[in-house]
Amino acid sequence: MPTDGSSMNERIRAFVLEKFPLARKRSVKDSDELLESGIVDSLGVLDLVHFLEQQFSITVVDDELIPENFRTVDHIVAFVERRTTSSS
């Protein structure tokens, strides 16, 4: 997985590829559906949340566990950008 020097997008994408076998198998792109395609299930969302909280020092509350924030890698990146901007 890329380390701190990598862009947010690369770090999230690397995590998705490392953690979810279907993502590797299908070589997901940043705009590919993660939820509807079954690549990430609800336990996978929990793993993603844990990763985002650790990596980007944010806290994800229940109200933020909506499809708009986790639908694709692009959506996850946009969500984290909003959160890191709003908390800085």
């Binding site: 509807e36 079954g38 336990l43 229940d62 109200d63 933020e64 566990l65 909506i66 499809p67 924030n69």
Partner: protein, 347 residues
């Protein structure tokens, strides 16, 4: 986009509920079982909730609680089993499921139910509880007893291993023989074809323990569950001593498998040996496997192992929710013995 949860109006919104169930839980014919499961349950009608997408009011998920009378120690209480938990594939981001899971706690918090429980059959089903920090109360395991091997060998290798298959069948029969002989001579096992009568309710009341949690098996419940189920057919064996009902087994046949749904009675060890032996004898020539489901620590586990059943897999986790500091909540904290069969974990 804002999501919100609200109760389903059972009469006017049944079709919307059926649509989300059939789309997301496609393995069951929900329309055929709807009235039976949601309206005719002798313990009361189901409570259901929708989770909707704010702008369009589109239904993106649903869950229900099915009332279930449970023995909690020596007290009979109305509880509820969470079931038919369905979320649209595009909305499996955990948030909608959390809204539904919390909604399912409401009847408990309002004092309408002593506790509710869910039985997620897979890891993903535990995600809401992980997020809420709620630990499972017990595990239910699947046990299996192979009756014969020839069908499987024929499917895999054709008839070339016919001799080996016959030898395998013989080995399994010889292995079972000592355990079959353990049954008591004064227990009479018969097929029960009629409805369940009052003697079953009396048996249910007679089998209580101070530290046990299990579903009630009243005649009304048994008739509803096994005689009126529109999707499945069941067979029943009774065990009697000098004419008095001391136990029963309910099972169904699907393909080559005999699934024991329920095994219940007084003097359970003896009764279970007699009932299981009768099932084995009836189906050892026609079926491949007998399977059964038992919670960890169930008093029948040792009987099953002595009968050469083997633990095959985890079938479900049982996760209960009770109102904080309520009497039931304290009972659950004392690690009671969850005496669950298949009948308690399927809705």
């Amino acid at each position: 986009m804002k999501l919100f949860v609200r109760p389903v109006r059972q009469e006017s919104e049944a079709q919307e509920l059926l649509n989300i169930l059939q789309t997301n839980l496609p393995n069951l014919d929900h329309a055929r079982r709807f009235s039976w499961l949601y309206r005719n349950n002798p313990d009361g009608p189901a409570c259901s909730w929708f989770v909707l997408q704010g702008s369009s009011n589109q239904v993106v998920g649903a869950a229900s609680i099915f009332p279930r009378s449970m023995w909690i120690g020596t007290q009979l209480k109305l509880c509820g089993q969470v079931g038919d938990f369905a979320i649209s594939a595009s909305h499996r981001s955990l948030g909608p499921a959390l809204l539904l899971q919390r909604a399912s706690f409401e009847p408990v918090d309002q004092g309408k139910l002593a506790f509710c429980y869910d039985c997620p059959p897979h890891r993903a089903g535990m995600s809401t509880f992980v997020r809420l920090g709620i630990q499972p109360n017990c595990r239910v395991d699947r046990y299996a007893l192979p009756l014969r091997v020839d069908t499987r060998l024929r499917k895999q290798f054709g008839s070339s291993l016919a001799l080996a298959a016959r030898a395998g069948n013989l080995f399994l029969r010889l292995q079972r023989r000592p355990s079959l002989s353990k049954r008591s001579n004064d227990i009479e096992v018969c097929e029960h074809n009629g409805t369940f009568g009052d003697e079953f309710s009396l048996l249910d009341s007679a089998v209580t323990g101070p530290n046990v949690i299990r579903g009630q098996r009243s005649a009304a419940h048994l008739n509803w569950r096994y005689k009126e189920d529109p999707l499945h057919q069941y067979r029943v064996l009774t065990a009697r001593r000098r004419g008095n009902l001391i136990g029963f087994a309910v099972f169904r046949l699907v393909g080559e498998i005999v699934t024991v749904m329920d095994l219940f009675g007084t003097e359970l060890k003896e009764t279970a040996f007699a009932l299981l032996a009768a099932i084995v004898e009836r189906f050892e020539k026609s079926h491949e496997t007998i399977e059964a489901f038992l919670s960890e620590g169930h008093e029948l586990v040792n009987v099953f192992l002595e009968m050469h059943f083997r633990l095959r897999s985890e079938a479900a986790q049982v996760v209960a929710y009770a109102k904080s500091q309520a009497e039931v909540s304290e009972f659950l904290k004392r690690s009671p013995n969850w005496s669950f069969n298949q009948v308690e974990i399927r809705s």
